[in-house]
């Protein structure tokens, strides 16, 4: 894509470039990335057609239930998952915990999610993601937040949603917010883009790039609260280029079947007949939580800034 920084001029090869990091996310588009907590779940996800898995110790629904500090997963567990599947493996670090990120890089994960689902390690700074060969995905609730993460080196953005609730309402809010703010930038002339950058608290160069492209310069996925095939298709129709599913699969009655159904609905997101077929007899969906009854302190989307 012409918008990505160009290659170094030398005949040597280069790893960890923006094109290689952002390009990796481009390959995941149209797909479903599933949260898994062990090798067995990872295999179920791969069999169902996941494009990647996210290795974590507890799915967000259990992090909510158990409370306490949520951290990076045990390296053994991550390695077992890497061994078990041939699709890309992602893993989560705490916000600002660049040492957890260093560990994940050393384990050879394919993407690091600097995630608000884990307990933040730094209340001021996110990790400097340019310092890594492994690419990062970060959550965002609005355009300014997405661009600040990209300025820090994120190579992929996802909506935050409200993970572990099985309620898609926050993911819808965040995606609509990002899309609306991009649409607004499209209508601005050059004079207005400086003020827009100030308003968004984001670098002018990135704001200008978004205004020209009409999209983020990196891939945008949806995350947080997807529990059904129709949820996944909704996020795609709202403009998400793919979908993360966390607790929605392995907290449901028939994970293998639901996982495959969500993959189908994500590919054929604009075909209600296929979504209907995919939605039949899936067994129980995760029970879910109404986001307006969540105490402020339990809202993960408020973590990060």
């Amino acid at each position: 894509m012409s918008t990505l920084p160009t290659s170094p001029q030398s005949a040597e090869s280069a790893i960890g470039t923006s094109r290689v990091k952002r390009g990796m996310a481009e390959q995941l588009k149209g797909g479903v990335i599933m949260d898994v907590v062990n090798a067995e779940q990872a295999k179920i996800a791969e069999d169902a057609g996941a494009v990647a898995v996210m290795a974590l110790e507890r799915v967000p629904a259990d992090i909510r239930k158990d409370g306490g500090v949520a951290r990076m997963s045990d390296p053994n567990m991550i390695e077992e998952i890497i061994e078990a599947v041939s699709i890309p493996v992602m893993a989560k670090s705490r916000i600002g915990h660049f040492v957890e990120a260093q560990v994940l890089q050393s384990l050879g994960v394919d993407y690091i999610d600097e995630s608000e689902v884990l307990t933040p390690a730094d209340e001021v700074n996110h990790s400097d993601k340019w310092a890594f060969t492994t690419p990062f995905v970060c959550g965002a609730t609005n355009l300014g937040e997405a661009l600040r993460r990209i300025a820090e080196g994120a190579a992929m953005i996802r909506s935050k949603g409200e993970a572990g609730t099985g309620n898609v309402v926050e993911a819808v809010r965040h995606l609509r917010q990002i899309k609306n703010e991009i649409a607004k930038l499209r209508g601005f002339d050059n004079n207005e883009l400086y003020a827009a950058a100030k308003e968004l608290r984001a670098p002018y160069e990135l704001v200008k790039e978004v205004a020209e492209l009409g999209k983020l310069p990196v891939v945008l996925f949806s995350a947080g609260g997807v529990a059904t095939p129709a949820d996944a298709a909704l996020m795609r129709q709202l403009g998400a280029e793919g979908v993360f599913v966390g607790s929605g699969i392995f907290k449901s009655g028939d994970p293998a079947k639901r996982a495959a159904a969500i993959v189908k609905a994500t590919t054929f997101f604009d075909d209600p007949k296929i979504i209907a077929d995919a939605s039949r007899n899936l067994g129980e969906a995760m029970v879910g939580i109404n986001c307006d009854t969540l105490p402020e302190a339990e809202r993960y989307a408020n973590r990060g800034w």
Binding site: S13, V20, G23, E26, Q27, E46, S86, I87, F268
Partner: protein
């Protein structure tokens, strides 16, 4: 215009949008293809980069595998990048046991041969038949070609490994020209398609 080929991009999953843009820049009419009836309407096809196991699974699930095989066997021009190269291999190493390919090129392809994401890289690649200097190669968890049969022609190598192959109407690269803004490989493919119309 009879001379403007209609080229589909297999849109089950992957970097479809970038291929559509590159094909349009190379003067083809480009459109996404997800269904057998959409496949029937195109002169040629690009199989994009993506996750090859997912793509293969979705092709089976949605009844695309046999129509795709039939069109490839009937001589439809096809270009595959990365996962697309894997789909076009007659034989695959390090794939999943149940992973289906379309075939089309007499070659053995090793999946993820260049390593995981931390080993993904970009490099300049000399490409036989493309003028104007080396093309920019972006390799992402990329496969390489272990060996080719007599009918297949090697068009590019990197570090001793074959990374671009053509056999008749079928073209495959380990790398992703669609991510670079350098449309010469797409233009090369569009010329292949045009020559057969």
């Amino acid at each position: 215009m009879t001379n403007t080929p209609v080229i589909g991009v297999l849109a089950l999953q992957g970097d479809v949008r970038e291929h559509l843009i590159a094909l349009a820049a190379a003067d083809a009419v480009a459109r996404p293809v997800r269904r057998p009836e959409e496949l029937a309407e195109v002169d040629a096809l690009v199989i994009p980069g993506g996750e090859s196991t997912t793509m293969s699974k979705l092709a089976v699930l949605f009844g695309m595998l046999e129509p795709l095989r039939e069109r490839v066997a009937a001589g439809m021009p096809v270009y595959g990048t990365c996962a697309g190269m894997i789909m076009l291999a007659d034989k695959l190493l390090d794939g999943r046991d149940d992973q289906e390919t379309l075939g089309g090129i007499d070659m053995i392809v090793r999946r993820n041969a260049f390593g995981r994401q931390n080993e993904s890289f970009e490099a300049k690649i000399d490409f036989v038949g493309i003028e104007g200097g080396p093309v920019e190669g972006v390799f992402i968890r990329a496969p390489w070609v272990e060996s080719v049969g007599g009918a297949a022609e090697v068009l590019a190598t990197y570090d001793g490994h074959t990374v671009a192959v053509r056999q008749g109407n079928v073209l495959a690269t380990s790398f992703h020209p669609e991510l670079t803004g350098d449309d010469r490989v797409h233009a090369y493919f569009v010329e292949m398609v045009r020559a057969g119309l």
